[in-house]
Symmetry: C2
Subunit: 210 residues, 2 copies
DNA sequence: AACTGTGAAGTTTTTCACAGCC
DNA sequence: GGCTGTGAAAAACTTCACAGTT
């Protein structure tokens, strides 16, 4: 995910691990813990302690020698680095079964994201409820994106429509997309895509079975 | 995902890309195409052609110099490598909202996987329908796993129960797990886990936004 | 002419190992 | 004694570039 010609000096692979660290740290905090170490974190995550220290060191010294990391402080710092020390408004495209499931998922709000609208191009679906949202026409995309200043979207439409939806989203100013459709998207420089395809994940494991 | 001390000589990262290639190739086939090249595939996927050739070369020569790759043949070969030239029976644990969504997802069956049972430990849910399945008690896990010879499971339970469920699954003989709960699982050597956490994916992108 | 498969080169990522601090 | 942060070493991964094949 480089995408900028003048890329910052922090490797994408490091950024990719930070949300995992954050998730584990949040859990530790919930357990009432206040301090942890790269060793403990590594044990929990199946990652070497050296890697965790090296990753975190990219952003300056978050830890204390001899002591470890203050969990609350580290959580705050990582949220700042990842720019989730705020709440991002997210557009959800697609009001089918998958769209319903995504809209009803409770886990977004306390981790930096809020679904602010649901759009679909099917006239049958427009006006109906999905979660607490009323489905709006996809044709109104530009208006809705501008209204909420949306930079992030989730694509939950059939594979055959996903690229077209992505193109429209980009035209409307969306810069980051989470694609649930089982298809690779073509996007220009400066637009970021992540994929969720459960089958791909399953297929990555069967190779290792007898 | 090494996990075996005597690991084969094919890098995990290569195995991880094969399902992506397979997905793109299947799409090309649907479009009626019969032959493709590493260059074309790379263009579609945003991957260099050299990488695709190198990846595929780990398994012997699938292509023809001067011509490219026969799509149907390559699909068959990749399916064989990934061991999805068969259908894997998958247990789904968790009959809540998420479990319902996963159970109703249509995309598993034509890509090598079949949900064969849905289990939950909540007495309220047992006996009710989820998709076309009747929810069975999680206590019957061992029996069900043995009955279908299940090696693969999907975990769609709350985070706080996920580790316990994973432990039970492993005890019952499951070797590969797709975890929808937002938590890292501890598993022994020889057990494979993949994660689906949409928030992690979103958090991997916001860093790159203004 | 077009394309694969592949050693070699180049780059990135991970691990090592230890100085410095609590 | 326990832990971080970090250069240096090692390992892994990607790209280059071209011989060889159709």
């Amino acid at each position: 995910m480089p995408s900028n010609i003048i890329s910052s000096n922090i490797p994408d692979i490091v950024i990719g691990r930070l949300p995992i660290y954050l998730r584990a740290l949040t859990r530790l905090a919930q357990e009432g813990r206040e301090v942890t170490s790269s060793h403990e974190l590594g044990q929990r995550l199946g990652i070497s302690s050296a890697q965790i220290r090296k990753d975190l060191s990219h952003f300056g010294g978050f830890g204390k020698q001899g002591t470890g990391y203050q969990i609350g402080y580290l959580i705050d710092q990582l949220k700042q680095v990842l720019k989730i020390d705020r709440e991002w408004e997210v557009a959800l495209i697609g009001a089918g079964d998958l769209g319903h499931a995504v809209a009803n998922y409770r886990g977004f709000s306390d981790r930096g994201f809020r679904i602010c609208c649901v759009l679909d191009s099917d006239p049958q679906k427009i006006g109906h409820h999905v979660g607490k949202h009323v489905v709006q026409p996809f044709a109104d995309l530009e208006k809705v994106i501008a209204e909420y200043d949306i930079k992030v979207a989730m694509i939950a439409v059939p594979a055959q429509n996903a690229q077209e939806v992505a193109d429209q989203l980009i035209k409307a100013g969306v810069r980051a997309m989470l694609n649930y459709a089982p298809i690779s998207l073509n996007v220009p420089q400066g637009v970021y895509v992540q994929y969720i395809d459960p089958v791909v994940h399953l297929q990555r494991m069967t190779y290792y079975l007898d």
